[in-house]
Assembly symmetry: C2
Homo-oligomer: 331 residues x 2
């Protein structure tokens, strides 16, 4: 088995970030630590990858931004904010839409490595954790945006748990007791589901596990799943769709079944995109402060690029509930 940066870190008793810094000669590392790391590398016969060494000292002022799909209004707004923050710092942004597809992720990561981008902003997660590990091993600055991965690398996100809690509490406070949730198959989606659970548990309200769905963000999936909910006889009085695209799909699907919004079905989204102001009535949703998130992401990434980081930092921004017309009290 090939020796990895993890083996070196374990052997030397330091973090992989520290090993990466020693290899790349960035950041402030004590001579003692450097010695330990080099000794472990020698003992384990560890050879740093070419990319890591090639990158040393060479700046391209370009960052790679991986998103699931730039044509999704939430990511379009986020790309715009990241782009503005990057340009303020004289950097430019290469945008890659991965569709949560592991092949595309690998392909784009290779492409961006060839271009020797200074760092990665990953807003799409990685289907295969090996890809992330390889980037860390290569010593490439990387930050997760709106995706949790707090153990290994820096991350900026909204508090997804809190967002799920806020949305569900709003529905519960309106008297709803049969609330379906349609979330995404990503870690932030799971956190929103936990928030949904917490809001129920706090009020000792039981949850019907058949009301919990995970899918990919699209209008079609929202439409399809709300129909399924009624066809299966779940008959929820409210749906918490974990992003605005899904929420709009839910509204459209429910209407096709003759349901009135919000009289027959309350719907709440997540993200507060342009879509939320365009539905009639306006969509009640959970807002993410993407301007603040983009600023923090760039600040953190630039400090990583300069080698100014020691530990792993995770910044959570508070979401806020925006009540519009798609939710109403259960009568």
């Amino acid at each position: 088995m090939k020796t990895t940066i993890y083996d070196v870190a374990r052997e030397a008793g330091v973090s992989i970030t520290t090993v990466s810094k020693v290899i790349n000669n960035t950041g402030k590392i004590s001579e003692k630590t450097k010695k330990k790391v080099f000794k472990s590398m020698e003992q384990l016969n560890y050879v740093p990858s070419q990319v890591a060494t090639a990158l040393t000292g060479k700046k391209t002022d370009t960052i790679g931004l991986l998103v699931p799909d730039v044509s999704n209004p939430f990511y379009a707004a986020m790309v715009r904010q990241i782009e503005d923050e990057a340009h303020l710092r004289g950097m430019s942004v290469i945008v890659c839409s991965t569709d949560y597809d592991s092949e595309k992720e690998s392909k784009y990561v290779e492409l961006l490595k060839r271009k020797q981008v200074d760092g990665f902003i990953v807003s799409s997660g990685f289907s295969k954790v090996e890809l992330l590990d390889q980037l860390i091993e290569d010593g490439i600055p990387i930050i997760m945006l709106a995706q949790d991965n707090p153990d290994k690398i820096n991350a900026v996100s909204v508090d997804d748990f809190k967002g799920g809690y806020l949305a569900t509490s709003h529905l519960l406070s309106y008297g709803h007791r049969n609330i379906a949730i349609i979330s995404e198959q990503v870690m932030s989606g799971d956190l929103r589901i936990y928030g949904y659970r917490a809001a129920h548990d706090e009020r000792k309200i039981p949850i019907n596990e058949e009301n919990i769905f995970k899918t990919r963000a699209s209008l079609e999936n929202g439409k399809r799943l709300v129909k399924k909910l009624f066809e299966k006889g779940n008959n929820p009085t409210a749906v918490f769709a974990c992003n605005d695209l899904l929420a709009v799909g839910v509204i459209q699907g429910a209407r096709e079944m003759g349901k009135r919004i919000p009289e027959d079905l309350s719907v709440i989204g997540f993200d507060d995109t342009i879509l939320a102001t365009i539905t009639v009535p306006g969509l009640t949703t959970v807002s993410q402060p993407i301007g603040d998130m983009a600023r923090k992401t760039l600040e953190t990434l630039v400090r990583q690029i300069k080698g100014e980081y020691e530990g792993v930092e995770r910044t959570l921004f508070m979401p806020t509930l925006v009540v519009r017309g798609t939710t109403s009290r259960l009568t």
Copy 2:
């Protein structure tokens, strides 16, 4: 006055594209023409810019994409298509949102030149023509997308004139005679207005010049202008908004004034973005085949980068009318 590539072209009796190719040693140029160009350069004491010479033979497999605003759903969808087409060819895309601001345009063009991108896709136009001229002079492959500039460089766009004609003809065929148009302050916007005129002229229907507006694409401007139309007493029975964002703003503003859509006011948009399927009723709009446009743009740009172009090529795609619920017959 500094000698420019135009002076050399005039002196040699050839196009600036030819001069650029001779300088950059790309494309097939006869020895006779080369001699003529070099002679003119000598006579006029013309020194090619650094960028042009620096670029020779060096490929970065990166292209710069200038759009007005990536968070506008139309441009978000376009960026995604361009990105996919570029990645198919192993190229990546740096996205820059210019807001039609001449300072931002200059700044981003400088940034992209420093990064030695292989070519530019400009979907935002240039507020100052000097910026475009400088790029042409530098010999950087450039193509206009959804923006006309047919005289000097390659362009791919929808037939905006035809789109304006289609939308207006639809409203006229529904019996409307008092149709306002809200267009954008760009060349494609003007072409849509000419299409609006042509549809009227063909039917010998007079136009009230006070029904013609030009503005920037935003919900707010759509809202503001539809209110102005009624406050000024123009009282149109239909509004042709030259993109979906403006159209949604028109719908929202009209509703705030108590107008029903389409009973009191028919509204038609342009672009067929995700917004058009989300309004209630669905937005009647003019669709652009952005997938085809993106493919053609990349094909053309790659051929330019390879130096395979002689003349200036302009590709127009046909728009199509998508009738949904926001337009109805005048009763």
